[in-house]
């Protein structure tokens, strides 16, 4: 299956002769694809058919929480009256502010947080925001701290967000049981500790049972505790970060609240904080007084982390999803997500260390290369799990089916795992054989960089 590039179909030069600007302020030429609507419709329809989405089949990417994206949330987001300019006066956008206010409120309740900002446009931006809040809080207290502790098995964004904010990252080795090692934490903590960033359940799907002790240790050291919301789908209605001692958290709305991932984004990474940290949140925040909504700048605001108010359309979808499920639906989503992970883990032949699991588990491909396993699973018509991470499990197959899969699909996934487990190295190395594209040379792509069709033309 092959679809030519737009540029290989037809291009043309723009006619710039009548540009309403002096020549010296105008570009010389512009050559772009020039196609009719029927040609474009076929081009993108074909491209879409060369792409796997949640509606295509199971997508059990550990830590990515690929849920079904309810169709109606698209229609809710498409309501035109909400698509206003971001610089409108608060009085003239009461509707949008009301929705944002209500969403802040929902998220606060779900996470057990006192204040929420919706501005961060993605999870990593949420982390960055949280780190800036922690930094501002410490600085405000005259207590400059230079380090952020991150477990080895944490998401790469934790490290990068801490570094972006200028912190030194202290990597925390995991304990034998796959959880935080309290001794190691003790050694890592110091009066330079600004923050400990944790996911809970962690990337192995394990709940940090010592969370209260961890919280006490961090707070005793003068640090703050940050909750990475990537795995919140495991806890809805069962436990709340705010109740566990976390001071700051972000929510991944495409993970927990079913907004579509869109092939990479957009997401939204709202950040919740305890009351003491609310004055440091980004500006502006939405408030409600006497039934009227307004924007205000928190007293010690860190400023802005997005040019405007964040990813509005994504936030609307998250609102719609939460409203659809409500208390019982959210609790059921977590219950079924955890059941699905445990059931699938029980059905596969690969070794699955640790446990009991919440929303995900990490199997080990053992002697097989986990990346090969993934390629071969494609041949069985399913999307493979996340591979080779976390490194605490050798040749990791990090698997999170989410609540949206039925037993039949889980059995199909297990069959795919088990079929591949029985195959030899030749079969694995040759995979995938049944996909539109065969195994792709990633090393070659990086060695011989061609990042545009212009680069191909040079060949």
């Amino acid at each position: 299956r092959y679809e030519p590039l737009l540029s290989e179909k037809h291009t043309a030069e723009a006619d710039l002769d009548d540009a309403p600007l002096p020549d010296e302020l105008t570009r010389d030429s512009l050559e772009l694809p020039d196609l009719s609507e029927p040609e474009l419709a076929r081009h993108y329809t074909r491209l879409s058919e060369m792409n796997y989405g949640v509606d295509s089949g199971p997508y059990p990417l550990g830590s990515c929480t690929m849920k079904y994206n309810p169709k109606f949330t698209e229609d809710v987001a498409a309501i035109e009256a909400g698509a206003v300019h971001p610089d409108r006066s608060p009085e003239s956008v009461q509707g949008n502010l009301e929705l944002l206010y209500d969403l802040q409120d929902y998220l606060g309740r779900i996470g057990g947080m006192d204040a929420v900002t919706l501005q961060p446009p993605a999870g990593a931006a949420g982390e960055f925001t949280g780190v800036l809040v922690a930094k501002a809080y410490h600085e405000h207290n005259g207590d400059e701290r230079s380090e952020i502790i991150v477990p080895e098995s944490a998401h790469g964004t934790n490290f990068a967000s801490a570094a972006l904010a200028g912190f030194d990252v202290v990597s925390l080795p995991g304990g034998d049981d796959g959880r935080v090692d309290l001794d190691a934490l003790e050694s890592a903590l110091s009066d330079e500790t600004a923050l400990l960033m944790l996911t809970n359940p962690n990337t192995l799907g394990l709940f940090e049972r010592d969370i209260e002790e961890i919280s006490e240790m961090v707070h005793d050291a003068g640090g703050l505790l940050y909750y990475d919301g990537a795995n919140l789908n495991a806890l809805l209605g069962r436990a709340r970060p705010g109740d566990m001692g976390f001071d700051i958290m972000h929510y991944n709305v495409h993970k927990t609240f079913a907004t579509p991932h869109g092939g990479g984004g957009p997401g939204a990474g709202p950040v919740g904080v305890v009351g003491e940290l609310a004055p440091f949140l980004p500006k502006p925040q939405v408030e409600k007084r006497d039934g009227t909504y307004d924007l205000f700048d928190p007293e010690h605001s860190i400023g802005k982390v997005h040019g405007s108010l964040g990813n509005w359309l994504v936030l609307v979808k998250a609102y719609a999803y939460i409203a659809r499920l409500g208390d019982p639906g959210l609790a059921d989503a977590s219950a079924k997500a955890v059941l699905n992970a445990n059931y699938l883990a029980s059905q596969i032949e690969y070794e699955v260390p640790y446990g009991p699991f919440h929303h995900e588990f990490v199997a080990s491909a053992g002697d097989q290369d986990a990346a090969d396993v993934a390629k071969r699973m494609l041949d069985y018509g399913v999307h493979p799990p996340t591979t080779k991470w976390p490194e605490i499990v050798g040749e990791a197959l990090m698997t999170e089916p989410t609540e949206i899969e039925n037993k039949t699909t889980l059995d199909q996934l297990a069959d795919a795992f088990n079929a591949v487990a029985d195959e030899d190295q030749d079969a694995l190395a040759a995979a995938p054989e049944r996909t539109a594209a065969r195994r792709i040379d990633q090393t070659g792509a990086a060695r011989n960089l061609r990042l545009s069709w212009q680069a191909l033309d040079d060949e």
Binding site: S7, E24, L25, T26, L30, E31, L32, E37, R46, L47, N51, Y52, D55, S56, Y68, A81, G82, A83, P86, S92, G95, Y106, I110, P121, G123, A125, H155, T157, F159, A160, A163, L164, F207, G237, A239, H261, G263, G264, G265, K304, V305, H306, G307, S308, L325, D332, L339, H383, E403, K407, P432, T435, A437, R438, I440, D441, Q442, A446, L451, S452
Partner: protein, 446 residues
Amino acid sequence: MSGHHTPQGSPFAPHTATDTEAMLDAVGVETEAELFDIPDSVRFDGEFGIEPRSERAIRAEVAQTVEKNDDLVELLGRGHYSHYVPSLVDHLSLRSEFLTSYTQYQPEVTQGFLQALFEYQSLLVELTGLGVANCSMYDAATALGEAATLADRLRQTSGTRVLVPEQLADGRREVLANYVGGTDLVVEAYPMDDGNVDVEALGNALDDEAVMVYAENPTVRGCVEESLETVGDLAHDNDALFCLGSDPVSLALLQEPASVGADVVVGAAAVLGLPTSYGMGMGLFATREEYVRQVPGRLVGASTDDTGRRTYTLTLQTREQHIRRERATSNICTNQAWVALRAAIHAASLGPDGLADLATEAVTDAQELADRVTEVVGVKAPVHDRHHVREFVARTDQPAPAVAADLEDEGYAVHVLGEHQIQLNANALAEGEVDEFVDALAEVAR
């Protein structure tokens, strides 16, 4: 939704009672609750108090809510514009294979999105003249922030100064401040002269402490910048990176960034693909090929598969946070890929002439409206004696806040820039709306 599922459970969890039973059996527990390994002391046994509603009720409720917004014609501009988005863009980008897919970590089954992003990158390479464009940043402000950290990584010397125009959107200024907050960079404003860079003042301000000079074309006030080459030369003479802010529509007409020496181009690329969506945007980020290993965010490259056929894949992932962690070029993970897809479809459906036409209209609309409003008693426009794209600043004899408030009562939203200045995005007025607006302005400005 089907009635047999868990009463009031998630409508998006497909479990039948029989299946749930069988799965619990297989796992060896009686209830799902047993699977939650949570100490009693931190278990939540309260309620959120969020009532579940039907799909129909939520559609009605949200419609009712957002329709509380006043229905205003928005002449606000300043980085957020609503060009008409063809139906094609919605219909194709909403195809679920695109919309519901994840980042392309398994390229063999995501060739479609990869190719679309490769094409998006290529469109920006054509528009900017630079060799590399990434798959998107969150918005123009965060793209500017990333440009500064790129400059920080590239700098050979001890410099710390990032120079930005004094006239700059607040959001960009503030986000930039946060992005450089983890470095020792300091952001300084340089003066403007009649809506353009004051090149003499910039020249005086520059020294070898400068690591980046940022300019915009068009500027935040809609002016076409006339001294870009000089700005580029000044930056390069001081070993500073020249970062230019623009957008894909303006770039169809204005000087090609590469031709004026731009090292990085950032901007608001969602002017294609999305109408104004309460600030949701997409940041374009392009730079010279030599800096490719310092680029933030995702890059798609061409490759081959085992059969030798051309394919596409994410590449140079070693720059990224999931591999390089705290030494990554950025913390960005989730980006705005789907908006990039939409922008590419929009650009492709316009074609070269369509895109140039949009840019041309943006220039002539601004000029024509300025000509009209300057006839209004109590108004002078444009304030800056420059060419304009889409928007311009007008002087009002009356206090500008009062004029803006009165205009809002008349159904128009405009920016107030100072005591006697308002900014008008002419491009926001549909054909036939100009007369009405001018009448309204005449009413409130005298």
